[in-house]
């Protein structure tokens, strides 16, 4: 068996690939569900109902999707430049901490839009700084950023623990390790009354469109693409590789940090060490399912959120462990990798 590069990658193939990957993942996981003695049809039906069966379910699914859009976008912009940012989880928490720390009292009394802008900026800066460390280590010392970003996730989680049990501890939380809450006036307004869905998702979609525009139309976008596809040729043509990668790192870390800030300002209101059900890691899956395209990120986020929210409901109804959601997601990622391969290569004999 040998692979031969296709001359052109068709747009249709790029749309079909993730669909095939998802179908393959659902089919493979049907076997695991059957192992639990539950009909896959019933289970998947329960999942769909759990994710979209009621107004509340729909709002929950989209609430879950909004941070995923941003962490997915964070991974997508980094991967495009061949910067393997696996630290979305840590950057998410840094952004969340920054928003809680400043949103509790420091910014109270500011005009609200200005305070929101400052909190978003603080969240982004916190996330960006965290990714700057591995990015500089890679550029300066050649240290593989995958390992450093992964290790930083553990460090950050302990740091969050340190904060919520220490200086940021909420004295009103009956000893629970959680941070001081964001001032009520600074919480993001709900999009749908009496639900957790808030304007964060609108913001996330706007950010997606802006990033898309930047990638497709600007000098920075073109240089990033060139640097990602062929760093030697890009450097020869005068693209400052180091500066470009640093900018990409700041953007990527910033997006993941923003996700954390919005999560705190929106549905959660404070920081705990368990506030993220793996948004950073799921962001990697989202980015790959989206074939690293910003618009695809939105669709992929909704899919991943559907699986997670749906799986919880399905688990309650049928007893199939809700970890099936993680399995579906990871199989979809692996299937997507294979599907992507066949969009760029064809098999010869």
């Amino acid at each position: 068996m040998r692979f031969e590069r296709r001359e052109e990658v068709s747009v249709a193939a790029l749309v079909i690939a993730p669909l095939l990957a998802v179908v393959a993942a659902l089919m493979l996981c049907a076997g695991l569900i059957a192992l639990a003695g539950v009909s896959p049809w019933v289970a998947y039906g329960e999942m769909l109902r759990g994710a979209f069966g009621s107004r509340l379910a729909v709002t929950e699914t989209f609430t879950r999707a909004s941070p995923l859009i941003l962490t997915g976008l964070a991974a997508a912009v980094a991967f495009r430049a061949r910067l393997w940012n696996i630290g979305g989880e840590g950057q998410f928490y840094m952004g969340a901490l920054a928003a809680a720390a400043l949103g509790h009292s420091a910014l109270v009394g500011w005009p609200v839009p200005l305070a929101w802008a400052a909190l978003a900026a603080a969240g982004m800066a916190a996330g960006a700084m965290l990714l700057l460390v591995p990015a500089v280590l890679r550029l300066r010392f050649g240290v593989d950023e995958v390992v450093t970003t992964l290790l930083l996730n553990f460090i950050v989680l302990l740091f969050v623990g340190l904060m919520v049990e220490g200086v940021l501890k909420d004295p009103m939380a009956f000893g629970w390790p959680q941070s001081v809450p964001v001032a009520a006036g600074l919480r993001l307004p709900d999009l749908v009354p009496r639900s957790r869905l808030h304007v964060g998702i609108v913001l996330a979609v706007v950010v997606v469109l802006v990033v898309w525009l930047v990638q497709a139309r600007t000098v920075f976008g073109a240089e990033t693409r060139a640097a990602g596809l062929n760093p030697a040729a890009a450097a020869f043509a005068g693209v400052p590789i180091t500066a470009t990668l640093v900018k990409v790192a700041l953007l990527s870390g910033g997006l993941a940090g923003l996700a954390g800030a919005i999560e705190v300002l929106g549905p959660v209101g404070y920081v705990t060490t368990t506030m993220s059900p793996g948004f950073g890691y799921a962001g990697i899956v989202v980015a790959m399912l989206a074939a690293l395209h910003p618009v695809g990120v939105v669709a992929a986020s909704v899919f991943v959120a559907t699986v997670f929210v749906g799986a919880d409901a399905m688990s309650r109804a049928t007893g199939v462990p809700s970890f099936i959601a993680d399995v579906i997601m990871s199989v979809a990622l692996l299937a997507m990798l294979v599907a992507l391969l066949f969009t760029t290569y064809r098999v010869r004999r």
Partner: protein, 505 residues
């Protein structure tokens, strides 16, 4: 099968997509014979030998060794049948020792322990027998290119090869080393080995082979006994038509544009460039000749803004440019054609228009947004002016042929009317037609007053285009000589590092 044939290729055909690399190729090799496989780059020589050795599977045809068919696509079978191959790009592991590189594959993987002493004795015996001295304990990474080639040959001999295939064996050797290699090969043939060597250099083929097979566009176009043919006849057979490379016209050079003084660059502890000195004048081509790996790459990097010299200066119109960035170089009007067009010249997965403006994206942008229409128009202009075939502005650049890719790179540099042009191996891997086109462009730029530094391993090209020549050897540059004063012997010596230096002790 005629008596004495040790190897036959029968009707070999190989396609890569739409390209027919080998088209019904039939040839045979006799015992004790040195056969030259002559052809241009892209004629299908390497593909043919890779099929013979089992790296590729042929779409049709058969390989027979001593009358027995070889199974397709199995290097192991080829080795077992006594075929050894010396690849152009050595297949050695730089971090391992000579001995390890030679013995790998010769013992069963399930054997417990290795017979190092026995292996070392056998290697030393082969070294002595064939005149291939090398230290079995040395690390490959520490060896010179010539020594590495010896290891490659020893690898084949260690596996008891009776048929030796060498792919462009002299591409990385200086003239004296190459002559030495051919003496060794002759000795082997006398000892009963049969040898095929691939080459596009006529003088080698004339000097070292018994018989020549000429390959063109994947087909065998002629077969000659070397003693009964001439270099001129082979040249015409190889190219298939009379392609005349454009001739340099007499032309008065102007004032010096780029001057380097005492330029030194160290790399990984060693000296890549050692007190290099040259000047290039307006309307002149200065040729730098030398064997690959003697500092050409670093010279190119230093002049492209990619390497920081440790000592010395480069001035451009009197201004120090030894520490500029590629972007500043472009802004100053310095054109640069990189050594490796696929790796450095273009981003293959971007469109032609994007590569056309990649160096000056900021000139084609407003408020940070790329002016795509203007960029595409610019690319279309280049395509027309430089005759880039098979390209539209939106074409993916990697789909272009080597020659057209090179025209795109030349075009994006020449369109801006550079005062200085660095052309590093501008025709490497191109066919005759494309070479002539590139040469014409370079001569045109010279006529328009550009100062051109041509770094080339192709002596005919360097001598044909340059007004003056300097040789590079171990990072040192010789004094310039006029192209008119060149003779083959003197140039050969210069490339081997033998020249009168002013600062000789």
């Amino acid at each position: 099968m005629t008596v004495g044939d040790v190897l036959e290729l029968d009707g070999i055909t190989k396609r890569f997509g739409a390209l027919v690399a080998n088209d019904d190729v039939t040839l045979s090799l006799k015992k004790g014979e040195v056969l030259a496989l002559l052809g241009e780059n892209g004629a299908g020589k390497t593909t043919l030998m890779n099929i013979l050795f089992g790296h590729y599977a042929a779409d049709a045809g058969e390989v027979r060794v001593l009358g027995k068919p070889l199974p397709s696509a199995k290097p192991r079978a080829a080795i077992a049948a006594g075929v050894g191959m010396v690849h152009q790009h050595f297949t050695l592991a730089g971090n391992l020792t000579v001995l390890e590189n030679i013995v790998i594959g010769s013992e069963s993987l399930w054997k417990v322990g290795m017979d190092r002493e026995g292996a070392e004795r056998k290697i030393r015996a082969l070294s002595a027998q064939f005149g291939l001295p090398v230290d079995p304990a040395a690390r490959i990474g520490d060896l010179s290119v010539g020594e590495r080639q010896r290891v490659e040959i020893l690898k084949a001999l260690y596996r008891e090869a009776r048929i030796l295939i060498l792919d462009e064996p002299t591409a990385v050797l200086a003239r004296p080393e190459a002559e030495q290699l051919f003496t060794i090969l002759r000795g082997m043939a006398k000892g009963g080995l049969s040898i095929i060597f691939i080459s596009h250099k006529l003088h080698e083929v004339m000097g070292a082979s018994d018989r020549v097979v000429v390959l063109r566009a994947g087909k065998v176009v002629a077969e000659r006994v070397t003693a009964e043919t001439t270099a001129a006849e082979l040249a015409e057979l190889m190219v298939g038509r009379a392609v005349a490379r454009p001739k340099r016209a007499a032309h008065e050079a102007g004032a010096p544009v780029v001057v380097a003084e005492g330029l030194s660059v160290t790399k990984g502890g060693g000296m890549a460039l050692d007190r290099v000195r040259f000047e290039v004048r307006a309307g002149e081509i200065l040729g730098i000749v030398g064997v690959s790996g003697n500092g050409q790459a670093m010279l190119g990097r230093a002049l492209s803004g990619l390497a920081r010299p440790d000592a010395g200066t480069i001035t451009f119109d009197g201004r120090d440019i030894s520490r500029i960035t590629p972007r500043q170089a472009v802004k100053l009007g310095i054109g640069r054609v990189p050594e490796d067009r696929q790796a450095q010249g273009v981003v293959g997965d971007l469109a032609v228009w994007e590569n056309a403006v990649l160096e000056r994206l900021r000139d084609f942008s407003r408020f940070g947004f790329v002016r795509r229409r203007a960029a595409e128009a610019h690319a279309a202009g280049l395509i027309g002016r430089f005759d880039i075939r098979g390209a539209a502005p939106a074409t993916r650049t990697r789909l272009l042929s080597g020659g057209n890719m090179q025209k795109l790179i030349l075009g994006r540099n020449l369109a801006a009317g550079p005062r200085f042009l660095l052309a590093n191996q501008p025709t490497r891997g191109l066919d005759e037609g494309a070479i002539a086109g590139v040469h014409a462009e370079l001569l045109m730029a010279r006529a328009e007053g550009a100062a051109i530094l041509l770094i080339s391993e192709d002596l005919d090209e360097a001598v044909g285009l340059s007004d003056r020549l300097q040789a590079i050897s171990k990072g040192r540059l010789s004094e310039p000589i006029l192209a008119e004063d060149v003779d083959a012997r003197r140039l050969g010596l210069m490339m081997a590092g033998v020249w009168e230096t002013r600062d000789a002790v």
